[in-house]
Amino acid sequence: MIKVENLKKRFGRLQVLHGVTFDTADGKCTAIMGPNASGKTTTIKSILGLVVPDEGTITVNGVDTSKGYQYRNLIGYMPQIPTFPENITPRELINLTRRLRTYDKDSADELIEMFEIEEHLDKPFSALSGGTRQKVNAVLAFMFDVPILILDEPTVGLDPVSSRKLKELIKERKSRGVDVIITSHIVSEIEQLADDMVFLLEGHVVFEGPVSEVIEKTQGEDLEDAIAKLIQRQQAA
């Protein structure tokens, strides 16, 4: 479970987060949504300790994230379109990640088989397509049996078959009680995967609750319509 309280962050003159507060629950998928520059990535990076917040607290399974780095053993992270060094191979990267973490067992081999990337394991990243790199990215995030998964636009660059496999994997982890946090611009993906939604607009949380509730509240026809109405209402206010 992740608890974000009164998170504030400023980059130079730009106040990116204005006291963001929300929490996520085990066994549920929470979508962090919002238009470009709404603060989604800054929020996720704050949880991961990549961005140092100006104010506010973040706890991951009860552990204050400002107190150390060990809490990141609890998190599997899939960054958006990652840039891996061109001259190393997926196998080397998987082994490096194994050596940096504390874990019981890993399921890298099963995931490699599932995404059919065995033949690419010893090729340098410079020789891999964007889709294959994204599959390696998925393996790195899902290979440890962690209670929290943070996925930033996870299906970008994946072919429909792999995208489907990844969504099934997310659902399976969710059913095992994993707390999944996802960002995506693909509304259908959110409809398929997310239980709850945190909607950010210019660094403010304008909606937090079940996905079904946002449609009800805005009287939208579907989720896409509900999101559009949410943005319009806030801009009008």
Partner: protein, 266 residues
Amino acid sequence: MPLRNLSSGSKQLSLFEHYINDIVRGKWFIAYTVLLFALIYAVLMFSFETSQAVVGVMNLVIFIVPAVSLFFTTMYYYSRREFMEFILSQPVSRTFVYFSFYMAMTLSLIISFILGVSVPMFIQGFIPEAIKITMWGVLLNMIFVAISLMVAAITDDRVRGLGTVLLLWFFYTIFYDAVLTAIIIYFKDYPIEKFIPFIIAINPVDDFRISTLLSTDVAAMLGYSGAVIKHFFGRFFGVLYVTLLQILWIVVPFFIGLLKFRKKDF
């Protein structure tokens, strides 16, 4: 409970190993080592006495090593910046990542230095001089990697970072000598030699030059600042003084960079 828990030392080693592997596989690493070897070997072939060899090698090292340490460290850091986000999203401390990066970069450049400078000196029979130049060369590499890593940690803008290290290199290797000469000429009627120990503290390249020449006893080539240091401190304490300055040039930029890196947003 987790069964597989590498100690922090093993984690450090694995990241260090990763960076070393990544660096030495780069084409620039091989090209730099070969070029350095060829240049040093050529200089030594035309050196007929020890002082000539030491001064020739030293001048090449002064010109090339700071430039390569500054540019390669900065460029490598920027090229791996996004991957660093991935590393930092793992359960590792920022101090540990910064230290691994610094040590890997330094060790790679020291390997290049040994292969490119020390080995040809050994082959040509300048063994005691090779040992001394290697010692100071190690410090020179450590200094300029610390400086460039500090610059890279301070600025995220690649162009600004590379521009800054270019200016630093220009200042240390070219502009400083011109300024020092101008000061000596302009203030020739004043006892400026008292300030020389402080003035040389601002340039680690000059510290390398003085320590090399003092320790190899090629005193005739010491130049003004070196001669003053030798006169002020004597040979032994002169070497000790410039060594301390060089250690400060490693420690201070390293810790400024580390403090910045620890608070940095990725």
